[in-house]
């Protein structure tokens, strides 16, 4: 059962909202219904968020993100459509039950902090528990813990006014964390933070989520942030969903020009990982074969280097065509002395940005090996460079390089899964 499910959600502000919904569901753009004197903030949005997922909603200012998130906990009633939380349709709930559900299941971090100016930081953080009637000592204890998590110990007795914007934002986060609900809605929770703290908080959020398994719906207008945090990303445009997918899907297969344009200046090297840009290791050479067989294999595949792996795909090293050709001429019968074992290895989850240095140092393609030292893919330098190009897609061919194994297929989600399938046990 999804933690949150939105089905054909509409939110139209104005008197003639029902009429507007009718027109909008026929596919009209929201600018076309201006004469109805309504604002269509959210139009026909559907998605499901699985428990433990970080679902990011992103879009430009005014695209309806805040309106959407407010419907997810019932702060705003939808004009049409429904929201289900843990299988309960919240639009149908009576007021009291809705309140209980909010208190126990969903907390929220607000775009403009929404801290209570007349309460101390500690009392602000403890608010959710206070509403639920948790005794004072216990809720303060838990609030202190949450404040510690966001790096605000020592500030408990100040009032929000005495804190900087970034610190206030963290109090808002602590307030949501203290409430200890399974679902957290975060409306541009990090946009007031400076870049350093922001990265820090992102890391912390990812950690927290890994530890506590929270379901997080995160709103941002920063694509890099979306890509970093989101298991899946929903791109909103003028209130409608432009695309929903993983970061890589959105980068490599944008649903339309808008999304493509949007993703133009994303730092791809941070989004893509080794596994998403690597290529299938073809050909590979068995260490038991002789130089002659190896040379034939390489000639057939027109490459100058090849990786040597055991039957179970454990990596031994790499061989060069020249060396093998020499060996064949001089009549060496064994590959062993020809294999260069000292080849750069990288993990499939390494960000592309972190591959460059290793790639520059190594005369060979990078070997992508999993935790069991099994070769799951290779990354020639050219592939690495191709990954940087915006809008790179499957059919695009990168130029061939002298020391490359195969012509590079550009990065995409499909390549990733091929790579994974290619090695048994690569993704356990």
């Amino acid at each position: 059962m999804p933690a949150v499910r939105a089905s054909n959600l509409y939110k139209v502000f104005g008197k003639r909202a029902p009429k507007a919904v009718e027109l909008l569901s026929d596919g009209r753009h929201r600018d076309e219904i201006r004469e109805l004197d309504v604002t269509a903030a959210v139009i026909d949005v559907s998605f499901e968020v699985e428990p433990g997922e970080i679902f990011v909603v992103m879009g430009l200012s005014g695209s309806g993100k805040s309106t959407l998130i407010r419907m997810l906990n019932g702060l705003l009633p939808p004009t049409a459509g429904s929201v289900e939380v843990d299988g309960t349709n919240i639009s149908a709930l009576p007021k009291r039950a809705l309140r209980t559900l909010r208190g126990e299941k969903i907390s929220m971090v607000f775009q403009h902090f929404a801290l209570f100016p007349h309460r101390t930081v500690l009392e602000n953080a403890a608010y959710g528990l206070e509403v639920r009637g948790v005794p004072r000592a216990e809720r303060h204890e838990r609030a202190r813990h949450a404040l510690g998590l966001v790096g605000l110990e020592g500030w408990e007795d100040k009032v929000p006014q005495q804190l900087s914007g970034g610190m206030q934002q963290r109090v808002g986060l602590a307030r949501a964390l203290t409430a200890d609900t399974d679902i957290i809605l975060m409306d541009e929770a990090f946009s007031a933070l400076d870049p350093l703290i922001r990265r820090d908080m992102q890391t912390q959020l990812l950690q927290l989520q890994a530890e506590l398994g929270k379901t997080i719906i995160f709103i941002t207008h920063d694509l890099n942030e979306a890509m970093r945090l989101g298991d899946r990303i929903c791109v909103l445009r003028d209130g409608r969903v432009a695309q929903i997918g993983t970061a890589e899907e959105i980068l490599s297969q944008p649903a339309n020009d808008y999304v493509a344009q949007f993703t133009e200046d994303v730092d791809r090297t941070r989004v893509f990982t080794a596994s998403s840009v690597m290529e299938p290791p073809i050909p590979v050479i068995d260490p038991g074969h002789g130089p002659r067989a190896a040379l034939r294999t390489m000639r057939e595949n027109q490459t100058v280097t090849a990786f040597v792996v055991h039957r179970d795909r454990r990596l031994v090293g790499v061989v060069r065509e020249e060396a093998i050709g020499e060996a064949v001429r001089t009549g060496v019968k064994d590959l062993e002395g020809l294999v260069v074992a000292d080849v750069e290895r990288v993990h499939p989850d390494t960000a592309v940005a972190d591959l460059f240095q290793q790639a520059a140092l190594s005369p060979y393609p990078l070997a992508v090996v999993d935790d069991d030292e099994r070769l799951v893919g290779v990354i020639p330098r050219v592939t690495l460079l191709a990954a940087l190009a915006p809008g790179a897609s499957e059919d695009e061919q990168a130029p061939e390089g002298a020391d490359d194994l195969v012509a590079a297929a550009a990065p995409n989600g499909a390549a990733r899964s091929e790579g994974a399938d290619g090695s048994e046990g690569g993704q356990r």
Binding site: R70, N73, L75, R96, R99, T100, L101, R102, G103, E104, I106, S107, M108, F110, Q111, H112, A114, L115, F116, P117, H118, R119, T120, Y127, G128, V131, R132, D157, V159, P160, Q161, R175, A179, L185
Partner: protein, 416 residues
């Protein structure tokens, strides 16, 4: 050519608005008379009580006030149970005393030195059971403050309250200072605590002027009337203002009604007020309430509406019920604006003093009114000056409360 002569005029039928009003009033008087009688009783009793408190407070009253101050400190800390027990015991004993004179017996069984000391201090005729009970209550509360390890601020408050009481009792009963001057000093002390030394100095000088003009009794009786009127107005206005903030419809209906209440000449509703409540303080209070209430409603509505919508949403998002949001978020944050409204209510009440004097409410209004009636210029002027002093005092006092923003209040509370 002269001006055209009007030969035809449009016949506009006479609408008997006045008669309708009168018959409505008559109907109300006939059918709901008991309600008005009850309201009149309560208001009359409150004004009398306050006047006595301000002009001739008994030692018991003063002791109970000190006890209330200490209690407030206790309630903020961890002394809730102790407070409840002590006040409960006091009320029980007090009732028993009233009904059976039981306290005398209890007192007889108490350790002697305390009462010997008290008798020496005040003279035996002042040691009557209610006072002793009140003193015991105060002592017990002060002990409770220290026993519960209350924060330092509360301990200081307790010590201060007891010391102030002793000082007052000593000044009055031992040194023999008249009670007017003591009340004056207490009012000045209040000004000092709430606002600062400037207002304290002003109030000492201003009130001394009133005393020297021999208008103190009148001034205090007017103050009592104003305070009661203000309390009634606030009690009615704030809930209405809150409701108006929630409902645009009510707000729309209310607007003309409030305008009506504020602009209808006050004399006009003195007539029905007298009709309902007779001559005296009560119609004065009622007329004052009606005239002074509108800003209370308006500013409460404004204050609540001004509270950042996202803060209310934050309350909702964490599952708080509406009433809790109102109590914990909206009212505290609107308090500054509401206080500005209360300030306005008080000022408008003051401006009604003279009119209230016309219906026999007594006080400074009466002074000014007789000054007018008898063309007694000095009398009228002195009455007027006394009103001005009261007005400045009350305005600055409530204004000082308005200055604290919600954040400042939280900080102050935290510092304690």
């Amino acid at each position: 050519m002269g001006a055209p002569v009007l030969t035809h005029s449009v016949e506009v039928p006479r609408i008997p608005v006045g008669q309708w009003f009168e018959s409505t009033i008559n109907w109300l008087r006939a059918n709901l008379g008991f309600v008005f009688d009850l309201i009149g009783e309560v208001i009359g009793a409150s004004v009398d009580f306050l006047s006595v408190l301000l002009t001739a407070p008994s030692a018991t009253f003063l002791t109970l006030i000190a006890a209330a101050v200490v209690t407030k400190g206790l309630l903020e800390g961890r002394g809730r149970r102790a407070t409840a027990v002590l006040w409960g015991a006091f009320l029980l004993l007090y009732l028993a005393e009233l009904l059976f004179g039981a306290a005398a017996a209890v007192i007889g069984s108490m350790p002697a030195p305390l009462f010997v000391w008290a008798m020496e201090l005040f003279g035996a005729e002042y040691v009557y059971p209610p006072l002793v009970l009140a003193l015991l209550l105060l002592t017990a509360l002060a002990v409770a403050v220290f026993a519960t390890k209350a924060p330092r601020r509360q301990r200081y408050t307790a010590i201060g309250a007891v010391a102030a009481l002793l000082a007052v009792l000593t000044l009055h009963f031992v040194v023999g200072v008249q009670i007017d001057l003591i009340t004056l000093l207490l009012l000045a002390a209040l000004a000092w605590v709430v606002s600062g030394w400037r207002l304290a100095l002003f109030s000492v000088l201003g009130f001394l002027l009133i005393v020297s003009m021999d208008k103190w009794q009148d001034a205090m009786s007017s103050l009592a009337l104003i305070l009661v009127a203000t309390v009634v107005a606030v009690v009615v206005a704030v809930p209405i203002g809150v409701l108006a903030a929630y409902s645009n419809k009510l707000s729309g209906v209310l607007k003309p009604v409030l305008d009506f209440m504020q602009t209808l000449p006050a004399f006009v509703y003195l007539i029905p007020a007298i009709f309902f409540f007779g001559i005296g303080q009560v119609p004065g209070v009622i007329a004052t309430v009606i005239f002074a209430m509108p800003p209370g409603v308006r500013l409460t509505e404004l204050g609540i509406r001004q509270v950042d919508k996202e803060l209310v949403e934050a309350g909702e998002a964490f599952g708080a019920p509406d009433l809790q949001i109102l109590r914990q978020i909206q009212l505290p944050l609107a308090l500054t604006t509401i206080m500005a409204g209360i300030n306005q209510v008080i000022m408008l009440s003051l401006s009604m003093v003279v009119i209230a004097g016309m219906v026999g409410a007594g006080g400074l209004g009466n002074v000014v009114y007789s000054g007018i009636a008898r063309s007694d210029m000095p009398l009228g002027f002195e009455g007027g000056i006394a009103v001005v002093v009261l007005a400045i005092y009350l305005d600055r006092l409530t204004g000082a409360v308005t200055r604290y923003s919600p954040a400042l209040r939280a900080q102050k509370a935290q510092a304690g």
